[in-house]
Symmetry: C2
Subunit: 180 residues, 2 copies
DNA sequence: GCGAAAGCGGACGAATCAGTCCGCTTCTGC
DNA sequence: GCAGAAGCGGACTGATTCGTCCGCTTTCGC
């Protein structure tokens, strides 16, 4: 990939920023025209950089997923496995709450590198869960997939809630329910 | 409203049935053409009975909501409030598991009578929850909306799970988490 | 500055889907 | 049976939105 012209780079940055904002606010089905408008460019310009809407979505998800992965690794390195797991759940909930598109978008996205990052994140989270379970912080009958599904569900629930502080109560309910 | 001609009534029944099925399967944004196809009628026929897609959605939701309301009243009449509440959650989980559109659809629907039925259900569930809370079966800080969101989330979680019996474990985790 | 390459963005095409309309068909009361 | 009312459904309209294209503009090495 050759270096972009200065104006093109400026526009690319603005598009990514606007896209992240618009997806977070309006969800992954948000119209390209809306993103172009927010970025202050024509929508043809968006399509030049990203051949499809899916590609733009993937680009935004990629950024967020790498951030999430880095943080998950930190939590996995905690001495206290139960604490590391809980802190990760709180962090993940917070991220998804701010950006409802991330959670939905990751599911939808079929790009190879995003799938790879997703798998990598999955592995790290699995490790977090296995350690927490060994330490008696999570019930024995639940496996990593169950816990992942339940955490995802609690986050999903916070999106429907009206009261802005609801998500804390939901995560608390979940964490309490997960204990043996 | 005058009585319908026999063929019209037959078609109306088929449309409602197909709509319930299609919404359950494909979600509340499912295309009218798909519903018409499943019902074996032209989509003009659907629009004759229901002036908008919203009206059709409301009609389907109405049926399900009344059923749910009747059952909720039964559970609310239980001697043992905690037991009544838990049984209701198990029942609601089962219903939502069969029809994922119901939960989403109710949120979207803005028709007055549906809103009224929703409010009525809300009141009964609130009563269930208040009684269960008084009996010490549910934490004090959760209201009906919270519990609804959490039950919905647990059901949502079961859809991502591979093992078919997962939903029972998830509801169990939820109910344990709800306790003080 | 200048010319070529890179980039821009609005007009356009195509697909999808809600909702309308009207010529033809089917039912029903008599 | 028949006449007229009721109903049917497919063609059509209009809105929305993804994605393309090409004439004009901007940048940048020289």
């Amino acid at each position: 990939m050759t270096v972009l012209r200065a104006d093109a780079q400026r526009n690319l940055d603005r598009i990514l920023e606007a896209a992240a904002e618009a997806f977070a606010e309006l969800g992954p089905d948000c119209a390209i025209d809306e993103i172009a408008r927010r970025a202050g460019v024509g929508h043809g310009t968006v399509f030049r950089r990203f051949p499809t809407k899916e590609a733009l979505r993937a680009a935004v998800i990629r950024l967020h997923l790498h951030e999430l992965l880095a943080r998950a690794r930190e939590f996995a390195a905690y001495e206290d496995a139960g604490r590391g797991f809980e802190d990760f759940v709180w962090y993940a909930a917070e991220v998804c709450r701010r950006d409802r598109a991330l959670f939905e978008g990751v599911e939808k996205c079929t790009f190879d590198d995003v799938a790879a990052a997703k798998q990598e994140l999955h592995d790290v989270v699995n490790k977090l869960i296995r350690r927490a379970r060994r330490d008696g912080a999570i019930r024995r009958e639940l496996d990593a997939q169950d816990v992942g599904a339940l955490v995802g569900a609690a986050i999903e629930a916070t999106m429907h809630a009206e009261r802005p502080d609801a998500w804390r109560r939901y995560v608390r309910v979940l964490l309490d329910g997960l204990r043996p």
